[in-house]
Symmetry: D2
Subunit: 311 residues, 4 copies
């Protein structure tokens, strides 16, 4: 069983939950997705995050999905265990860690405001999940309305030994990465693995600022793997060239509310999902939106030969 | 099995979830609470609402609590079934209705903004829970950030036959009650049972505006029962006299964040709860806060002889 | 010229802006109001706060109102100078302080989130208004969405010598007052004058926790003066008795959105304002709301002989 | 004097306010900026918008800037006149329209929630500014928290004859443009000029959905002019080619909080601004951020020959 460490790097793909047209979980597509992610070189997977459709699953469905993926792959798996109470968080964590997960991820509840509230909350999380379980803190102010300064992240990192990874999706967030690396270098906090979210919209520069990789769900994860690899090897021009080629589609996928529909539509066109159905309530793409995505895919295919589509 | 109707009236008490000092559900106290609520003349109970500690329960605990209460009492029981997806909402509804609940309550997700989004959402809810299940719509803008005008409530009422009760806790909300009753009188919408929340802070006037009762959790539910009875009988002075006597404590309990702690502390002092423990994360009363509540109870006891306390 | 100090106590009344029925500033009523406030024993007045109708005044009107009030009374006057830029804040401060104001009040812009952002902001304020100008910091999270912990208030107090008064309207806020007084006693921050807002809804206990008074606009300021005086003299029962008598009306006035309409209506009925007109856009009281207020005034008059009304 | 019409098209540039290093308005740079905008073919200019630094200007400074720009150019000028009260809005409108402005722009106050509140607000605006004054409604939910559906925009358009232009910056917003054009075609609302904001992040598709142009402040307005021209002429590939070349920089400039700093830095490097100073409080670019922008400009210059920089 692999556990997350402070040096974990690469791309952790956030997989969408595949449903068939009747709304049942589509395990065939899930298996295909997992195999695909392995084949393109991701470093791990993240399941049951706060966004996406995990909240629309029953407890049993969520457990079966985690079990299925853990059986299917040797990739390390991060599982989202955010819950309103510590008791439920502890129960979920015990369940998934004993099933073989690599760590758990916890988003801050949106009632937290002050530095002390945030620090206290994560000390409570650590007590609940256990000090030896690798913990990923999700820093996503635009969605959760909780703002964590570098100094408060450092304070949590000093107080919570299990906190080994930051899912960074503050926006703007480049200076935050630099500030955290600076605090580490000055000995003011232990090193964290920093994986970036926000759909990858700033991954070109985030990797240059010191991020270790990405944790996000862009519909062409090959791009994320490329950028992280180019950056790690110091190939700046190659990194930006491939990133810029994908940016028009990546930006289109970043639209709040319909991003998941875009993602599922592209993954269906790539042959990864049998259906792009979402559970209700949901947003639906118009015919014109689908043709815009088709156009972006067509333009992208001219610059990235790996994009092949199923009609 | 009693079901909610458009004429349901009286007080539906929102029961706190009793825990022992170790955080386990305390079914002894729960039974005592249910018996107490029956003895003071409430018309029903509401379980698993959005606020309070229901979100801190596991799925199994929540099911056991609903089952326990349904076994204990013949009072009609409303169960909160709000969920991010309609599939989970349907499953919960089927479970509790077949166990004997009187109806289900659904709060609007805080991403809804426009009239059409709200109307569409509740039409989806009706399709999910089934048209014959009595539905309570929770209108609580301060907490959910979703604002429903009288006209949008009327529109939902016309479109959704099962929508028979409004949990009204807009603030200020007196004009909304009058507006809804006016729309009903004009034939623009079917009658709704309107039960008021907000801890009862405006129940004196809400009953005069046409509300059918209260659905809230004030630690002295006898007051709520009194006000509704006085108002129904046209005893205006008596209604305001008893209401005003309780207002200092009622106001104290209404403080965001610590209200539940106040409520549990008083219920423990009244001998209803063995412990006032909350599950973590939680707010805690200081010694000075407890002595302030004691002082308010002492003053109240001089004006309301039913207040007897356990030291 | 009196300046605010760290020991300033009593009631600073927040005066509504009187308009005639055509929307022009009604200086006759303003003069009458000022005389009334003096006669009931307030310690000072606050003009141009963030709420109310000050933002609906032109720059010239606001200047004339400040000048008029400074000419009319020897009471110390606090002037709100909040502005998006420090340059405008400095200009306003220079203008009102040279005209004789006792200090300036600044609310935090709602984009501030972290402790450091808040501290930096107020250090910038101090540089802008000048270190010798008495500064009132407005702590009102429900309205401004900026949460200041006691420790951040202490930090600002240590860094900004001019910061002598806190307008406290956090909610719940009793523990914050105790925490600040404790920090002062421990030598961790200089003393602040603490005046409480929130319409006075917790003034009975706020004074017992160590607040120096109130800064709010309740339509019967005599009550605020009484509670502060009783508390200062240790007359606990008298303080709560008069407070409780006013609480039904005070609570009614606290309704978001229509509170100002309630306040102006009562002040018109008391003969203080010629008209209760507000500038547009505005909320308007229904006939039923006015009769509810009349009823509350009628009940109040039985318990507080000073309430006499003009029909 | 040109007035806005329902057919106005092209790019309305939102000019930053130039300051010198001491914080004074830099009219030399302002003149240079205006000449530059004219030279690259913008259709008009927008002054005193809600964002940017207009709120940091004194009333006199704002008036002088509007007067200066109206003297300098024959381009139509839109002036932001948003204000908390209608009286101030009317005064500002009268002032700028008599000085020669082409129309006024009003953002919705963030307390509006329901359809009726929004419609009522803009009917009040129309009464305040006068029915013959061309009105631009600013639809920017991410910033103002006010969500306007196509049907409510149609309702305002039917009720307010002066409402001729929509500043569209909903996000995602492509479907909204299509919906509005569909309502127009069906005769359900009069035609509106639709100019898009959001820094231009979706201008490639917005023009294809029926937008008439852009109203935003991207630091290379030539790109906006190009995209609008290509789209109007049906040159789809050329439009996307030039748009995609700029997208990496455009995306970088879109970062909340530091976007204006990026914009001013680029405009200084382009020789348009003497200083990139902002009035306090402000955000500041780090050295690394400046070098990232330099890198993006360097890459862009290889694809767009018009980018020449001053060192």
């Amino acid at each position: 069983m692999t556990l997350l460490t402070r040096e974990t790097s690469g791309v952790f793909a956030i997989a969408p939950t595949p449903f068939d047209d009747d709304g049942a979980v589509d395990f065939d597509s899930l298996g295909r997705l997992v195999d695909f992610y392995e084949s393109v070189g991701v470093a791990g997977l993240t399941l049951l995050g706060q966004l996406g459709e995990a909240p629309k699953l029953s407890h049993d469905e969520a457990s079966r999905i985690v079990g299925y993926v853990l059986d299917r792959t040797v990739l390390p798996i991060v599982v989202g265990v955010s819950a309103p109470g510590y008791a439920a968080m502890r129960a979920l964590t015990t369940e998934v860690m004993s099933a073989g997960a690599a760590g758990v991820m916890v988003a801050p509840p949106n009632i937290l405001r002050t530095d002390n509230q945030i620090a206290d909350y994560y000390q409570g999380v650590a007590a609940a999940v256990g000090e030896t379980v690798p913990l990923v803190v999700q820093d996503y102010p635009l969605s959760f309305s909780v703002v964590m300064t570098p100094s408060i992240i450092a304070r949590i990192a000093r107080a919570v030994p299990g906190f080994v990874m930051l899912k960074h999706e503050d926006w703007p967030g480049l200076e935050k990465i630099s500030a955290l690396r600076h605090l580490e270098a000055a000995g003011d906090m232990p090193r964290l693995s920093i994986l970036c979210g926000n759909g990858g919209l700033f991954l070109d520069f985030e990797t240059e600022r010191g991020a270790d990789g990405a944790m996000t769900g862009y519909c062409v994860p090959e791009l994320l793997v490329d950028v992280v690899a180019h950056a790690a090897a110091g190939r700046r021009e190659e990194s930006h060239d491939i990133f810029d080629a994908h940016l028009p589609l990546l930006r289109y996928e970043q639209q709040p509310g319909i991003g998941l529909a875009v993602r599922k539509y592209v993954m269906k066109r790539r042959g990864l999902l049998t259906s792009d159905a979402q559970r209700t309530p949901r947003s639906v793409l118009s015919g014109q939106a689908r043709s815009e995505i088709d156009y972006l895919l067509h333009r992208l295919a001219e610059r990235d030969g790996r994009i092949s589509l199923i009609d």
